[in-house]
Symmetry: C2
Subunit: 432 residues, 2 copies
């Protein structure tokens, strides 16, 4: 299956018969001799086609099979090229709607053009690189947590009620009932802590029926979640999250060095992530930045951006934890601080001034949770299956959720979250 | 966070101060001295509570914290017990609806009782073991394919049309449109082969709005999928799948040895998986088993069971590939055999007489796929985003999909697929 064309792998094959299979990336005709750039999953190879071979039917994006001899050529990628003795067309291609071989900085396509023509735009090496990095991010998330004795779980996305209240849910016609698409695995990961697994994580889709069209919202996203039992307080969670992020950065930097270089992205060596409490942030925003609106127990988009700037300047860190948001701004299951009951044991993690993680310690006392549900106007009998985890003994616990696409966007400096999703969904986009 | 109670880990701590946190699994009162069995993610620990400590408020499933001294005790799990000097109740528990400490063979709960009381039934060690094994199955799937240069992808579950035709789709109210929940990532994984990744896999939810209530159907399941470009034919796919399964079995046997022992499950050392063509199977069923109904280009449930029996007897293998099903029984994108165009280059993998995998080589020629869609009564313009992958050059390719819960059920000899799903969904069940 598939001869690798990566030139470095051919280096040992100089003067040997080689077979190359892939997509025609680019064709250059230098008066009789034709140069084909052939692309496969490992990179590009240069193929020289002598005049006697007819390649009139070969165009960009055709899939071809080349038999030939490898030879040293300093100007070819990796220093090796293939002198073709035979070129077969495996699959023809019509003239593509995007020039796959051109860097985005040259072709400058609109985002909608990239998304409308996804089967072609994903062939642009810079675009595909995003998803190689994304796969590595997910792998790091899992493997670090595996090393810390977590168990991966898969929880339902078809649910009867939402974890964050009734707003922004997609309705599903479910036989004789109405189901909803889960906004988060919140309730289920808590039940799984209570099941005795204690430490669980999930990588799965989550849904938000948000009408807003912004550069950081999609309606279907991949949520990286973990939940941990027997914690002291939210600092244990922030500690675990910091370790995950640190491992992610160091591994992505190492494994995806080539992709990062092509994208001109430098990932910093992560140091300890600074913290600021919501109340400190509020004071800072008021006194230092003259900002008083949009900070009512929570930070708005501008507030997050300014706190991000402050952390970069004061602490030299692109990350900053904001802790202790107001209870009224956090979900019903959030735990209040014992001494300052209007504030929660919750946190957000901001990365380059954008919230990428929301987390916190949860209520673990059954009676307290029933009261919290009632105070929020919810009927505890609707949450029977969830409450059972608490009724029969639940340890102190908490966790966090992180949007994969948003993290990818921030890490790679993309301008829109949709660039960090293979096939994004928004209010109007359901295809491809 | 959470002292580990596993006795083997306490072995080095004899006569030392230890702290144990977990759920009260069982309480035995032997006239003044009380023995608590305490459960956490690592197993059980025996705690001896002297008469002077009041534990009248401690019941089964309470979360407690025990401070004490470890000491050698041959009759305790792992040969070590804890003599408590202090017992704190971290979280109270009401009397649970299921006896968590009793083996299922003794308590014999109905499946509905287990599922209705999921937050409690998952605490039964035998039940939780299923999901530790399941997590390992998924890990093996990923890590083997990672080692073979695959890239993990995440594709949308909100789609405009189903991959397998219009039947059995859940409708979603999507702003001004109607969306459907994807039955499989089929179209998207094909597009990703064409994108140049060549080798992709996905672990994600898939949906079937099937009204049928059987022991092997759920409406939301986890699908393990891979798709590979530049194959010769379907044998390449069966080869890769065989390697994945072999790795899975050997790793699950090694990593989950304790769970398998508790469940009394023995996993065989896998040898090469035998193959039988659909036509051979048809002849065999007719001539050897006297079965002629329910085999019209495909095998019914009984046919699969009999072929499974045949493979076990003739080849000593619990697995068997059935190849070359009739084209009319396979999806629209299935590739026909060149010499026998009524039969496809497809296969199923049966495990203990049940189909756990469906796979095959796909059509890669654009014109041929357009004709196939039209012949199936579908409008190619509805599949524009999918067809684009073929219009602009798609190599020969194919793949497979495997239901995680069904595989888990077969591997562990469970009687119903719902036992292999944390929170299963069927026609009537949407909670917990």
């Amino acid at each position: 299956m598939s001869a690798r064309v990566l030139s470095s792998e051919m280096a040992g094959f100089e003067g040997k018969r080689v077979r190359v299979e892939g997509w025609v990336h680019r064709i250059r005709d230098l008066g009789g001799v034709r140069f084909l750039s052939v692309r496969d999953r490992s990179g590009l190879a240069q193929v020289v086609v002598p005049g006697e071979i007819d390649i009139s039917g070969v165009g960009c994006e055709c899939v071809i099979r080349v038999d030939g001899i490898s030879r040293s050529e300093p100007r070819a990628p990796g220093g090796v090229e293939v002198l073709a003795s035979r070129v077969d067309v495996v699959a023809r291609a019509e003239l593509p709607p995007l020039e796959v071989y051109k860097p985005l900085s040259v072709s400058r396509p609109r985002l909608d053009t990239l998304l409308d023509n996804r089967a072609v735009s994903l062939r642009i090496p810079e675009v595909l690189d995003i998803f190689r990095v994304q796969a590595e991010i997910v792998k790091c998330f899992r493997s670090y947590l595996d090393s810390q004795d977590f168990v991966e779980i898969n929880t339902p996305k078809l649910v009867l009620a939402g974890a964050e209240g009734g707003a922004a849910l997609f309705e599903v016609d479910y036989f004789e009932q109405t189901a909803y698409l889960a906004q988060s695995p919140q309730f289920y990961k808590q039940i799984m802590v209570g099941s005795g697994l204690e430490r669980v994580y999930e990588v799965g889709h989550a849904y938000r029926a948000e009408k807003s069209e912004t550069s950081r919202h999609i309606t279907e996203f991949v949520s990286l979640d973990f939940e941990i039992g027997f914690i002291e307080d939210e600092q244990d969670l922030m500690q675990m999250l910091s370790e995950v992020i640190r491992y992610m950065f160091s591994e992505v930097r190492r494994v995806c060095a080539a992709e990062l270089e092509r994208m001109e992205v430098t990932l910093p060596q992560l140091t300890e992530i600074p913290q600021i409490s919501y109340l400190e942030a509020e004071t800072l925003l008021r006194e230092k930045f003259g900002k008083s609106e949009g900070i009512n127990g929570d930070l708005d988009t501008e507030g997050e951006r300014l706190i991000g700037e402050w952390a970069a300047k004061e602490h030299g860190n692109e990350f900053v934890f904001v802790t202790g948001y107001a209870m009224e701004k956090r979900p019903v299951y959030a735990l209040a601080h014992e001494e300052f009951p209007e504030y929660s044991r919750s946190f957000d993690l901001l990365y380059r001034g954008v919230e990428i993680v929301t987390g916190g310690q949860r209520i673990h006392d059954y009676g307290q949770l029933v009261v919290a549900l009632r105070n929020a106007g919810l009927d505890p009998t609707d949450y029977r299956g969830y409450l059972a985890a608490f009724k029969y003994g639940m340890p102190p616990h908490g966790g966090m959720g992180m949007g994969l696409e948003r993290l990818t966007k921030q890490m790679l400096g993309l301008s829109n979250i949709k660039e960090a999703c293979l096939f994004p969904r928004d209010r109007y986009r359901l295809t491809p």
